[in-house]
């Protein structure tokens, strides 16, 4: 009888080690406040907990402190690094070999100037940024009568400098104000309020985001992207701004390099994670419609996008994740 108990215990502990996490500490994910990132974090948390048997904590914070944290090795994964506008501290740490990029998390970020579909339909002549001077009264800035208002990106982001330079390059500086909305929350509130009332507005926006998944928006045409031009436009002091579109941005996952040797399987899983941008937009729009929490969205993803996420992990891990659902 005793032997059977011992045998049972041995089997249990064997299974236990088979499920044990590679790290003898928590896996720490960088949780920035917006929905696409929270969705990825919750998906990763579910797979790490159920598939790899790890304990996961999410460290919440803004982009700047979280990039600093991944550079210091305080978090193990940062999901959304816009590599073309990566900050200096990440670039130098990357050069020194302290952090490493694991490739694209989405199929690509899109940036541009957008108008709602109802404005585009009502004004068929408005197709490109060069048509804007004729429509400045449509987008009038209450605080500066006679000028149009373009919503810029949140204060301090690299896109702010690009937009200001593009305003010059497109010859719009006399007709339009590049209006800083301050925060992303403020910008989103202004957009949803205007959209709900079918009011005309013109805004910089980026994808993948819930806003572009939820609202029917039309991108204004811009001249083709040039690498040197964009390089100059990113500099607030750019002497001669170049009229050219945003590049299709690469949004990448980044980890401290040490994780690759400490936990090779987990690092390999992180490297495989990738969701196409249009599907991210669709997922975010679903969450917005259903008022879902990030964790609910992650469950929805795991249930409905199985062919996608099962490619990220070995078959046995995928089975465990499925079994836990």
């Amino acid at each position: 009888m005793k032997y059977v108990t011992w045998l049972g215990l041995a089997i249990v502990s064997l299974i236990g080690t088979a499920q044990a996490c590679e790290l003898d500490r928590n896996v720490r994910l960088a949780g920035m406040s917006w929905m696409s990132n929270l969705m990825m974090v919750e998906i990763e948390r579910a797979i790490l907990e159920d598939g790899y048997g790890c304990d996961v904590v999410v460290e919440f914070g803004g982009t700047v402190p979280m990039i600093a944290a991944v550079v210091r090795g305080d978090v193990d994964l940062y999901n959304e690094l816009w590599i073309d506008s990566a900050p200096e501290n990440w670039l130098s740490a990357n050069e020194a070999g302290e952090v490493v990029s694991l490739g694209d998390v989405y199929s690509g970020g899109i940036e541009g100037w957008w108008i709602p579909r109802y404005v585009a339909d009502a004004n068929p002549g408005l197709k490109s940024v060069y048509d804007l001077p004729d429509y400045k009264n449509l987008f009038e800035d209450r605080e500066q009568p006679g000028m149009g208002r373009i919503y810029n990106c949140p204060e301090g982001w690299v896109c702010g400098a690009v937009n200001n330079n593009l305003l010059q390059a497109f010859g719009l500086a006399d007709d339009y104000i590049m209006f800083s909305p301050g925060s992303g929350a403020g910008l989103d509130a202004a957009i949803s309020s205007s959209y709900a009332r079918q009011k005309p507005f013109l805004t910089y926006y980026w994808s993948p985001t819930a806003i572009l998944g939820k609202y029917d928006m039309v991108e204004l045409e811009m001249p083709a992207y040039t690498p040197e031009g964009h390089q100059c436009n990113m500099d607030p002091e750019c002497q001669s701004p170049v009229a050219g579109a945003y590049p299709k941005a690469s949004i990448q996952k980044t980890i401290p390099t040490a994780l690759q040797s400490d936990a090779p399987e987990i690092a390999a899983f992180f490297a495989e994670i990738n969701v196409p941008t249009d599907q991210v937009n669709a997922l975010l729009a679903w969450a917005d419609e259903e008022n879902a929490e990030p964790a609910q969205l992650a469950e929805y993803f795991l249930a409905n996008y199985e062919s996608l996420w099962t490619q990220w992990v070995p078959a046995d891990v995928a089975e465990k994740v499925k079994a836990a659902r």
């Binding site: 919503y151 301090g156 982001w157 925060s183 509130a189 202004a190 709900a196 008022n291």
Partner: protein
């Protein structure tokens, strides 16, 4: 232990969201129109401050400081503080912030003092207003900022509203307190001389409550200045915007210089209103 689910919190949240959305669709257009005079006034003050020569602005502020305190040292201090703001390259943004401060202070005065007087007169009004003031002072401002942006649009008007909501409670409380603290024997004397209610209020209570009201104005100004950065998160221009940019770009220098300019404005407001309050309290010492 988890608390039992009595209410469906998600349904409650959705209900509130739906209510706000409906509010936006029904009232945002008219609210935007109604707030236009306020915006015009704010734009006017801002243009006036930004387009006037800097030395004129400093001279006017120094004169106000002298009238408030009758101390030339304070005027000199004001001049130095304003020069400091200019020297560190924050003049234009400082003027934008100053304009927002002046207009929100005017609004706080027009709302706060009458509300405080009413509170001191009616026990029932006081009971209703006190919890509202508690909410205004403690509710995290972003909670009401976003609905305000949805109703009034992004920019100066919601910033003004947010600032007033946060900054007006101390003025209301201290006006109420000041009137209540007026000595009963003085009030009896006024009644004995046959003063009407109105005469008692305007001729006896308010003048005697002035030091407390000035302390309220002082506190209100300080709180309004501390809202500058939050206001910039919904599109208000000025020093707060610069602080925000500094934080988001991890540029400590940019944030620090703008922050120092905010401190300079605060010290200036604080000393001038305090000196004026003191002069009201002890007229013989400070005057002449």
């Amino acid at each position: 232990m988890a608390f039992p689910d009595i209410l469906d919190a998600r349904a409650l949240r959705q209900g509130i969201d739906g209510f706000v959305d409906q509010l936006v669709i029904d009232y945002a257009d008219s609210l935007e129109r109604l707030s236009q005079p306020l915006l015009d006034f704010l734009v006017f003050v801002e243009q006036l401050l930004r387009n006037s020569p800097w030395y004129l602005v400093i001279a006017v502020l120094a004169t106000i400081a002298w009238y408030g305190s009758r101390r030339w040292t304070l005027s000199a201090g004001v001049i130095l503080l304003m020069l400091f703001i200019g020297v560190i390259g924050q003049w234009d943004r400082g003027m934008q912030t100053l304009a927002l401060m002046i207009v929100s202070l005017v609004m706080c005065l027009t709302i706060g003092i009458p509300a405080g007087v009413l509170m001191s007169l009616s026990e029932r009004f006081r009971k209703v207003l006190l919890p509202i003031l508690d909410v205004m002072q403690t509710m995290p401002s972003f909670v009401y900022l976003i609905p305000v942006v949805m109703l009034f649009g992004l920019g100066k008007v919601p910033a003004l509203i947010a600032t007033v909501v946060y900054a007006v409670p101390p003025l209301i409380r201290l006006t109420d307190l000041g009137i209540r603290l007026v000595d009963h024997s003085i009030m009896e004397a006024a009644t004995a001389f046959g003063a009407t209610k109105r005469q008692k209020l305007l001729g006896v209570q308010l003048p005697l409550a002035l030091p407390n009201i000035m302390a309220g104005i002082n506190q209100t100004t300080m709180m309004a200045l501390s809202m500058v950065v939050v206001a910039s998160m919904i599109g208000a221009r000025g020093l707060g915007q610069e602080v925000l940019a500094g934080i988001n770009r991890l540029e400590v220098g940019r944030g620090l210089l703008a922050g120092l300019a905010i401190v300079a404005l605060a010290i200036m407001f604080d000393r001038v209103t305090q000196a004026y309050g003191k002069r009201l309290q002890y007229p013989k010492q400070g005057d002449k």
